[in-house]
Symmetry: C2
Subunit: 407 residues, 2 copies
Amino acid sequence: MNDSELLLTTPAGRAQLLRVYRDGLLEDTLRFWFPRAADLEHGGFLHCFDQDGSLVDSDKSVWAQGRMSWMLLTLYNTHERREEWLAWAKSGLEFLERHCVDTDGRMFFHVTREGRPIRKRRYAFSEAFASIAHAAHAKATGESQSAERARKYFDHFTRWNFEPGLMPPKFTDVRPMISLAPRMITLVTAQELRANLGPDEKFTAWIDRCIEEIERLFAKPDLRVVMESVAPDGRIEDHFDGRLLNPGHAIECAWFILREAKFRKDSRLTRLGCDMLDWMWERGWDKEHGGIYYFRDVNGKPVQEYWHDMKFWWPHDETIIATLLAHQLTGDIKYARWHQQVHDWAHEHFADKAHGEWFGYLQRDGCVSSTLKGNLWKSFFHHPRRQWYCWKLLEERANGSGNFPVG
Amino acid sequence: MNDSELLLTTPAGRAQLLRVYRDGLLEDTLRFWFPRAADLEHGGFLHCFDQDGSLVDSDKSVWAQGRMSWMLLTLYNTHERREEWLAWAKSGLEFLERHCVDTDGRMFFHVTREGRPIRKRRYAFSEAFASIAHAAHAKATGESQSAERARKYFDHFTRWNFEPGLMPPKFTDVRPMISLAPRMITLVTAQELRANLGPDEKFTAWIDRCIEEIERLFAKPDLRVVMESVAPDGRIEDHFDGRLLNPGHAIECAWFILREAKFRKDSRLTRLGCDMLDWMWERGWDKEHGGIYYFRDVNGKPVQEYWHDMKFWWPHDETIIATLLAHQLTGDIKYARWHQQVHDWAHEHFADKAHGEWFGYLQRDGCVSSTLKGNLWKSFFHHPRRQWYCWKLLEERANGSGNFPVG
């Protein structure tokens, strides 16, 4: 493709892309999920749907309750104040409060349709998603109780993840490792809380701390890589787990940093986010079949996780955001190229022409591996968040406005 | 293929197959693994090898230490008393005793090359593999300490798996489930102990109990299926986990039962094992690409596990055994057909023509997904066990002898 044909390089092309994102969200993704996901009998959201929207499992993911509430409330706050969106989100939040909190204050991971607990995990991401959902509800309604809950779950989440000795270890202390995930989720959660509850030194301090640790411990400019887990001093452990790369994760983290660069107008952070994107695009893009690999090894050795070469939906959604944001911040045409490349590949392979929305899991060559539209991991979150965020980024650029509603 | 061309139906064909299994084990599989796997510095076995035998990770699986010791000792006991096999196995057993047992008597799952613990798991399969290795060592050397250790680990294993409340639960008690795995591993472990330590009422009682529970709770003649997990009363739970089928696992369990049928000359058990094989062949064989799927759903719904449609090496090794044993016990030509079908597909797709041994992980269409020859899960076990067992079965048939060395 000639560079002049890249959609991001012309106003008409950008307007076309904006429509793809906006209409994809409002006409396709939302229509797949709602109203079918709203559980009118027990509250909260059903989300384990097959290709055609039939329910495959009535169990509920606690992550999904928070994430789906957040997404609906974000649309309510930034697009249109549709009462049904607010009502469904409220039902999700009530389900979370009523059924998903254990007696020790920590949240479950997996509950029955009625809200009886099935599984709690060592880690605590449920709390982060509940936090952003309550914050978006506070923004939507002005209710101080929601703001308090958002702060409470944020505190739970950061305490559980960063206070040594609290989280039960998966491994012995023979080879301690720390991971990117809690840092990137703390970063984006604090950004969301700042956007919806207003500025707060605590949020800024967490954002600063997480970006500093990500840059100092996980980003490796000499190797042009972002590690998924490292020794506490940032050393790479030469074992399966220590060499593991998750390109989609690192690229998602890159756009959280680019979002901060945009918010602060900080060119140093722009450089950091773009570096991380550049390195992990190079590491993650499958030059033979297209698409982003799930796992890679930093030294090019084989990975132990079975699904390492599959193509999952969410790394593609995250890379579509990251390349758009990088292009908007730098104007570098490379990002317009990559944006179109990942956008085209993903829409060609993930989109379900028959029933709408995206499939979640493709084989390496792009063939559909599973017809699931939702499960305990995939719900109304990564895909609509990408459509919403890219729509709003392009709208902001078209309007020449810096008044971007998402911080 | 014409039925008269099936290798299992003629003496010449069976002699050819016998050579494929025997020479494959002695000339190919053994030569890939040894001496490179023997850790002369720290004892025990290295096993995380890439395609060409280069070491990818120096960490050690506790499963692998027991399994590889057992395999070497079984060759020593049933084929040839090679001193190096005994010495390597002894080193594996010493490594297990010195480094792999926690202070509470339970074994670790994953240790460093030097034997420092990395991970212990809720479940206790390490103990079962240590048990059969010690039993084979007792048979090889007559050492009573090895027999005692075999019995001790068997007791640990069965107690941990069957005494309610001992094993830390993965899930809450809202939807209790029991699994096939502890029952089939108890069955085969007791069979091994009987073969190497001699008859014992306790072993027989465990074998009886496990087969009874498998038949009553997991085998569903009306649905023609063997479930992987069920409610404690055998009910199928209509959720992702409750509908899950693992055809390779169920077929492995089927040949453990057929082995018991052979040992006891019990035609009712032959019927049970053949039924389980028939059902899961029908459920597991991929009619489009060939090979055995990793997971299926009992109702044909999509499975949540990402790697559900991949082809792993071990279900193919287990199916090669099961079909051979079923043919030998029943003479039903269907099993000769299936045996050749799975044998041919597996050898065509898993065998590494460049460096020997089998790859472990193929994409659905049979393309190699990972070049690993060993990792924390794959070692010198399923593949050589199949080569050894099928060789010995065919040898027994050729000799017209019932004096089969594996019970």
